[in-house]
Symmetry: C2
Subunit: 477 residues, 2 copies
């Protein structure tokens, strides 16, 4: 079926060419102007119908949401708002859309209504723009790593390892749910389950990625991860996509350099390749913030903010320095923090991170060298014996977007930490093997992809930047 | 930590440069020649040690598998087998590897032994070559679709929809496994489960991808999918990665054109970018096949086969023609097929597919227009009322690598098919919506990524082309 994308027609087709386009009707004005969109671009193509030449019955089927094939001549537009339009010679209706029942009418819908119609919300400008940006960001991720000598690793989704320790897990099973087989002691007999053991959905591919880094040098994962946490917030999903690079022979400084360069590069990619969609989302955010009190509005517009991040250095601050700044801050002294900062060792809350990023430094911040006891067991202990070579990247409006560390490469230190956590060494035999055989300094980080898409699109709720969000009480579609 | 990848040193560093490389020792000959590999390339760099200048205790730690940082001067090599070598001035041992316990010694290991050590098998030439090719193929997939105007869609992994119908599913739950809450009728009370309903791991992202295709035009998924089938074969995994493009306004011919062009393009990409790894795998296959009887050997070497596929047209044959060919074939007449072909309507078995591809046509084959009753409900019924617009691509040595179809776009026909299968329409309300509102001809296909990697690497067992395979009774790591 010969046809052109509307993007191609609008950008590189010479006038007076006969074109055939397919798409969905966004509006039909004055029985004359059809705005057709095929998803290849945010822009509609205006198709001008001389209604006297078409059957009335046919034109009646041209409703918002209907799918058409239109043939005509591309001409320079006399009207405002577009450079080109199609002088229509033929219309074929693939399928109509009843105006009385089609949910996506050209009016403002609530975000909650659109979430309930996640299969159709992609037909709006907002969601098509978000998802094109999401797709471009995904590609930028793969391209960045490939150009920088990384290999992509598909780490397992179903895991028999329960020592990842990053959060609550979903159980995966094929046992009869009502009457599962049991052992003599009354426990579930997982030996009879599909994998012959208890299995869960992964919370992170890091540990497996480390095994590949210690052979291929530089690797990354980009896949779904899961948290069975009952968090009904605008920042949490039960199923989300995570990017986890892991590099042999990288120390924490190298790790921070990479993370910063990576984020700047992928943001740079969408600034270059998603201009129209970002301009639309920029305007959308401005419109939305008009209704907010001045103090709650973003200090920068969307594109301005993306340029700022891609062009300026992130501020690197040790945890210890950050605690000093927070302890002496106005909100701390005036007891405005819900969790006051008194002592070194306190875990930083979202309010503290936001203060540092949005009020104090006014730019992305990398905090490093955290107290060991608030961070994961696999992070490398510093010589001071109380901090670890961890780093978090904090973004304005988003909070933590990256969490990473230099990994503990010393077998004895790692074993002690595992023992202190009461984890059975046997569970991690293969992870410990990496420290027995050719161990070396290595580092990595994790970036929650949806947090990056939130930041890149200026959206406020993480459920609106993934096609079909999974949250407590919600697995529709 | 300033250092260069071995690939960069071997390919674009001028001689007499001082270089620092990190890597793992593959061999240490004559107390003088260290072969170091860092995973950036199949090739080791030869590091020449003047052992009189180094402590004996240090050199004792230079064992197979140990991790070193080596500094020295890059010089043109006098020895055979390499163009450059490093005249070593400094050695730092990151971590040693005890020769008595390190499993990956420079000798032939059985594939089963390597599978049991999946965290270390990546340190062999064979597995590092496979996984670099896998990574390159992944990138080629993303690049192909991006360059051709597709958007990447992350369809959900956890699904509340049980109408996908492609196979047995894994249940996902956070309910207490021993004493789950029950309803008054004694069933599991999934209302109390995490998502408020029964959920499973997806077997396909197709239905969700269709919703996006009907707004963005051309989309694809590339993510993990799951089958809880007790198939312990060299062709099946319980967890595997699938690529599923879905295109609005594409009929079956367009779909076949795309699939063929796509496969040729990604194979072309690795021929261009993975030359060394493919040459290694090519030689590996030849060596392995030496032990096989002539009749069982591949008719072509690996690279020859990849070039053949990327440069020749796939043969397109209707199911009806294929049945005629099979019915009149020698093996059918001589009753050599386990499942003899008598009647039109028979489902084709692997033996028939292999006959068509490997004996009759001797090239990849696209079969199309299958009997409706052996194919899925969503495939478009032909005007004959008995066949559907389905297509399968069959590859030599692999069998089915792609399965696709034009999708049924007519609401009434689709509803009838759903009814005939006893699926509740309510389960598919959102899928049916696509046919109510702006329906149009559309098509798509699914490609099992591991089957493609099998083909591209010439490996014989699918467990060897994914980092950590999930199969019945096996979810280690």
């Amino acid at each position: 079926m010969q046809h052109s994308s509307i993007k191609a027609v609008l950008t590189n087709t010479p006038p007076l060419t006969e074109v055939t386009v397919n798409g969905w009707v966004r509006s039909f004005r004055s029985n004359r102007f059809i705005a057709l969109n095929d998803g290849s671009t945010l822009n509609n193509i205006q198709c001008v119908v001389d209604f006297e030449n078409f059957e009335e019955a046919l034109l009646k089927q041209v409703t918002v949401g209907s799918a058409l094939r239109i043939t005509g001549t591309l001409i320079e537009s006399q009207g405002r708002g577009q450079k080109f339009e199609v002088q229509v010679t033929d219309i074929f209706v693939h399928g109509s859309a009843d105006p009385d029942t089609y949910p996506i009418q050209p009016k403002k819908h609530s975000m909650e209504f659109l979430r309930e119609n996640a299969h159709l919300r992609i037909r709006t400008n907002t969601f098509s723009a978000i998802m094109r940006v999401r797709s471009a960001l995904s590609f930028a991720v793969h391209q960045y790593f490939r150009e920088n000598g990384f290999n992509y690793v598909h780490t397992p989704i179903i895991t028999g390892s329960d020592a990842e320790g990053a959060g609550e897990m979903f159980r995966v099973s094929t046992l009869d749910a009502i009457a599962p087989p049991k052992t003599e002691t009354g426990d579930i007999d997982y030996k009879q389950d599909f994998f012959g053991k208890e299995t869960n959905l992964t919370v992170s591919g890091q540990l497996e990625a480390e095994t590949y880094a210690m052979a291929l040098g530089k690797v990354y994962t980009f896949g779904p991860t899961f948290r069975a946490e009952n968090s009904n917030t605008s920042r949490h999903l039960a199923e989300f996509w995570m990017i986890e690079p892991e590099m042999a022979f990288y120390n924490l400084d190298d790790n921070m350099d990479l993370a910063e360069d990576f984020i700047k590069s992928v943001i740079g990619y969408i600034l270059e390749h998603c201009q129209e969609d970002l301009e639309f989302l920029d305007k959308r955010l401005l419109d939305e913030e008009k209704n907010k009190p001045q103090a709650e509005r973003s200090p920068m517009a969307l594109i301005e903010k993306l340029k700022f991040v891609s062009e300026n250095n992130f501020k690197r601050v040790s945890y210890t320095e950050a605690i000093d700044i927070l302890r002496n801050s106005k909100p701390n002294k005036k007891k405005k923090f819900q969790f006051p900062i008194d002592e070194w060792g306190a875990d930083l809350q979202s309010e503290h991170e936001r203060y540092l990023v949005e009020k104090h430094f006014k730019c992305p911040v990398i905090l490093f060298d955290y107290p060991a006891n608030i961070k994961a067991f696999y992070m490398r202990l510093n010589e001071d014996g109380k901090t670890v070579r961890a780093m978090d990247i904090l973004f304005p409006g988003i909070g933590e977007i990256v969490g990473g560390s230099q990994r503990e490469e010393r077998l004895d230190v790692l074993k002690e930490k595992i023992k202190a956590l009461d984890i059975d060494e046997k569970e991690l035999w293969w992870y410990l093997d990496l420290r027995k055989f050719g161990t070396a300094v290595h580092s990595g980080f994790g970036l929650g992809f949806e947090r990056l898409v939130l930041f890149a699109t200026g959206m406020g709720n993480i459920r609106d930047v993934i096609p079909f969000p999974r949250t407590p009480q919600n697995a529709e579609f």
